[in-house]
Symmetry: C2
């Protein structure tokens, strides 16, 4: 049977842990893979752990006991999160993003695999210890960010639909009033999608008054699911009083001034 050098074992451990954040791997898993003693793998992991620390790549955590093993926690440092949010702020503030009507073109950013990985990881860092069982989002634009958040937390993504689709079986639907447009809308979710007695976080691209988030919280009551918190890429400065309070945003939009060609965005208070 092939033996591997320490270099190679460490490389392989880092590869597997990086691709599977928050997933526990036993020492036996690696020992069998490398045809090596568990004590050898333990030493490899100590080196990998120190490396991760030195480069601020996140944390490799060792869990003892019956469910023991090792997992990778992909948290960003506070400084790193702030730096990345400031970068995003600069990119989104570009005046060529202004769309007639005073809107901001953001879809290239919020669909870019690279950028949504970063946004998802910042949000996952914030909710790492919340104990959520699901990441919820509502179609369409928040899906990429929510998926990456779920990937880093290693929990399932649940997409709430507008309107009920036949291919998802029996659904629960609610009507809600969008806080900003005051229009009545419908959202629905398959009964199978969420187990009763669970917890979740709600992730979206944008929040104005918080009507959608309120709707989600109403809907989740029907599933006996507790929404622990809300994370959005961007909130609007107005209205200052939102319909929800347990939320975090990365950026705050103070408005798009079409006439004078100015986009006013700043990092939200947590990331200033």
């Amino acid at each position: 049977m092939e033996k591997y050098h320490r270099n190679e074992r460490i490389g392989a451990i880092v590869k597997i842990l990086t691709e599977n954040p928050n997933k526990i791997f036993t020492l036996n898993y690696f020992a069998e893979m490398f045809n090596a003693a568990k004590s050898t793998v333990s030493e490899d992991i100590v080196i990998a752990k120190k490396m991760m620390d030195k480069f601020s790549f996140g944390i490799i955590e060792t869990l003892s006991g019956a469910a023991g093993g090792v997992k990778y926690i992909p948290i960003f440092s506070e400084d790193k999160s702030k730096e990345l949010v400031h970068d995003l702020c600069t990119r989104l503030s570009s005046t060529d993003r202004i769309i007639p009507g005073g809107f901001l073109y953001m879809t290239d950013i919020i669909y870019s695999p690279d950028i949504v990985s970063v946004i998802g990881r910042i949000l996952a860092t914030h909710f790492m210890d919340a104990g959520a069982d699901y990441v919820l989002t509502i179609e369409t634009k928040g899906i990429p960010i929510a998926l990456m958040t779920a990937k880093y937390l290693n929990i399932p993504l649940v997409i709430v639909r507008s309107g009920s689709k036949v291919t998802e079986g029996s659904t629960v639907s609610i009507n809600y009033v969008s806080g900003s447009t005051k229009r009545i809308q419908t959202m629905s979710l398959s009964r199978r999608a969420v187990k009763r007695g669970t917890k979740s976080i709600f992730i979206d691209d944008f929040m104005k008054a918080g009507g959608t988030a309120t709707g989600i919280m109403e809907l989740m009551k029907e599933f006996e699911n507790e929404v622990l918190g809300i994370g959005v890429l961007m909130e609007s400065k107005e209205p200052e009083i939102k319909m929800v309070d347990n939320y975090i945003s990365l950026l705050t939009l103070d408005g798009v001034d079409e006439e004078n060609n100015i986009v006013k965005i700043e990092p939200s208070s947590t990331f200033l």
Copy 2:
């Protein structure tokens, strides 16, 4: 300045390359990061490359010349792809997925971050050398798979919408006839989303007759964008003659027999 051991440098290189598939990093980038000579980094990369080979993790490719550097190509071996498709087949064939009306509940699978990573990587492996500039999808259920495909290919994701949304500026819309339901539907895309003279692949969760794919190809003509190929998680066996031919599917659905409680799915010919 801190120096790092070879172990640590290799771990860090593997970490960065794994997180950024198909992105080129110069030797200088690593040399500066490690405060090490380029020749040292070169040796590290040779070791990392061999490790990736031994474990079939994909390929580390070294590019010479002015645009030189190193990148990670996350391809699966043919055997690995087949094994994973067979696993998926088993999971999706579970009879408790049958929904009244003869539908199959799949959203837990096609929204699971772990599973869509695998599906996206299989599709990315297939389209690795196609030379696409974008991954296209249409809302909603194909988005997670398409995002992960785009992530592994390191190209932008473009989401075509049903109906035109004001926040995306001027849009191009087309009407198309869904091949299976024969209903007229609308799809639209912001003019800003795709540059002229580019190429793309279209990724979706399911294909019946191929009406949606045909619609996408029509729409992309308006952007002078060539759709190089189509990748779907699942196709239906009927109709056998689809409206498009340049597609690949992972699985083929031969029907859901509600009465006898049987789900007939098999790996598509490429993955048998």
